[in-house]
Symmetry: C2
Subunit: 331 residues, 2 copies
């Protein structure tokens, strides 16, 4: 099964003719509490395990799509035209090819991202989710969120979780065509839950996560146990979230992130996403907990950290970690 | 089976009367290329996997034993009398109890260690090996090295590897009483092989390795795979050493160390031995290799690193890592 077959399956007889001059979409990035790490199907981006994330509404991508008058797709990122051969423009262009109705039709994508790109804050998640929303608007498809989630997944796995606010679960699914591999929002409100971002390295990371996942799957002795423990973690963290047991949720989320990084460190050769400052902050957060401040961390495939804590601890967190940017989760 | 039963089994009818005024023993520490991490039997210190080390002749312990005229064992470490209740003196005293022939007989242990104690450079390995050699001298037992290796193991697991120079393999063994769990030297000369030590934290580490091993065994989802992969690594590294394939030996040793730390990072909660500087040096060594300098690292249960390289690269290593203390391995 090819991604283009899935696109046709979802779009059915829907139009690939633009229904307006410009389509627009906005999506937040998300940070996983139970990580997506490993693909069962590389091309369809079907994951080896289900995952769970929280949307970060302050960190979003706004994407506008129009037709291009050039003979290639154009990508403008934060006001700057990207080289067609650049990795990001090339990846978008491969994806856009699924939606071109004629060989002479090209798109112009204007994307604004308000946080560091490709630094382990899942910019591709908000990027592809925003693009799918923009396409849905441009062609007036009126697809369901489930359908949009599957389309977004074909661009970037974690993008399928970026169509909602709050807690979002991505079901790995079991079908070969990935039609049951999509995300859904958990029905919960939790206004006291807060997050903070600590950026240790704003420049682009060296190892992209697709390659790092493949390398972990094929060389880490710990990969199989990563998958099975993650499935257990997902079940338990959903119970913790439903019970609003912050400490249990934090413990599971942090342990799952540590386990993901451990599976990479055990790959051969090792993949090390952490920078010295990352480790210094991990030690500091461990020390904060010993001092009685309930704060937990997670780290995506990069050097930056996301903290979780309850509203009441906000001043203690700001004092101990002045570099943290406090985020509104709006759950 | 208790440790004291094993001591009796080894000593048979040998004397527990001192045969001279003072017994003396010296042993080098060792650094494992295939790590010892996990015990099948806590009290007898029988490991879950076989391991392999290199002696570091420059880092040694000299221990002198006499009878004490006090009503307790005395421990003097680097000229300073330790409190009987201190963890180190207490651990030595429990061990010395196996060798007291009367309830009024006590020992005075005078130990000189020429490197940082309890900082992940296996000071307990050289310490207990030197003590066993001193006891053997004091009582004139004339035990074999195999027997001394088993006695040393009862004090500190990795001590059983510290009775030889060069490459030493510790057979995990399969017997319940651990009588087949001892070390042996590999028959090989390799004068070009060099090592370097980088001390990132000379002060004592916070988590002792016995507790960290137990915590990893009981909470890390990766512990079983750590054991089975280590057994594979041991077979392969022995072949690499016999073939003097430095790159293959280095790759396996570094991967095994990374895997040990990964098994700790995946424990719940995580055990993190690395300091920010440790990670900075890991990144630097990865970069050095990309620049064509064949250098590999290992890290014990602490923050310090040991590098391996071939004589020809010595100047490149000193230039890139001026903090490294170059050691003679004398293999």
């Amino acid at each position: 099964v090819n991604p283009v077959d899935i696109v046709q399956l979802i779009l059915q007889n829907k139009s690939l003719e633009p229904q307006k001059k410009m389509g627009e979409g906005r999506a937040s990035t998300n940070i996983a509490l139970i990580k997506y790490w490993g693909k069962k199907d590389e091309r369809l981006r079907i994951p080896t395990n289900s995952s769970l994330s929280v949307a970060l509404p302050d960190k979003s991508t706004l994407t506008k799509i129009t037709l291009s008058d050039k003979n290639h797709n154009e990508v403008i990122l934060n006001g700057k035209a990207l080289d067609v051969a650049s990795p990001f423009a090339n990846r978008l262009s491969i994806y856009l090819d699924y939606f071109r109705s004629t060989s002479t039709m090209y798109f112009k994508i204007n994307t604004e991202v308000n946080f560091p790109v490709a630094a382990g804050l899942a910019s591709s998640a908000s990027g592809f989710a925003a693009l799918v929303l923009a396409l849905n608007d441009f062609f007036a498809w009126q697809l369901t969120k489930k359908e949009l989630s599957i389309l977004a997944r074909l661009g970037s796995g974690s993008a399928c979780r970026s169509l909602w606010s709050g807690f979002v679960e991505w079901h790995a699914g079991s079908k070969d065509d990935g039609m049951d591999s999509y995300a859904e929002q958990l029905d919960i409100t939790w206004p006291e839950l807060c997050a903070g971002v600590i950026v240790c390295e704003a420049k682009a990371k060296k190892i992209n996560s697709t390659i790092a996942m493949q390398h972990t799957m094929s060389t880490s002795p710990f990969f199989n146990d990563w998958v099975s423990q993650s499935n257990k973690d997902l079940m338990q963290i959903k119970e913790a979230i439903q019970a609003k047991d912050f400490v249990l949720m934090g413990e599971i989320a942090e342990a799952n992130a540590m386990m993901m990084h451990a599976s990479c460190i055990a790959a051969r050769p090792a993949i090390l996403y952490w920078q010295p400052e990352t480790l210094a902050i991990i030690h500091k957060i461990q020390a904060l907990r010993q001092q009685g401040v309930p704060v937990y961390l997670t780290i995506d495939a990069g050097a930056n950290l996301v903290l979780f804590f309850i509203q009441d601890e906000k001043q203690a967190i700001i004092k101990a970690l002045p570099k943290a940017e406090i985020l509104q989760l709006q759950i």
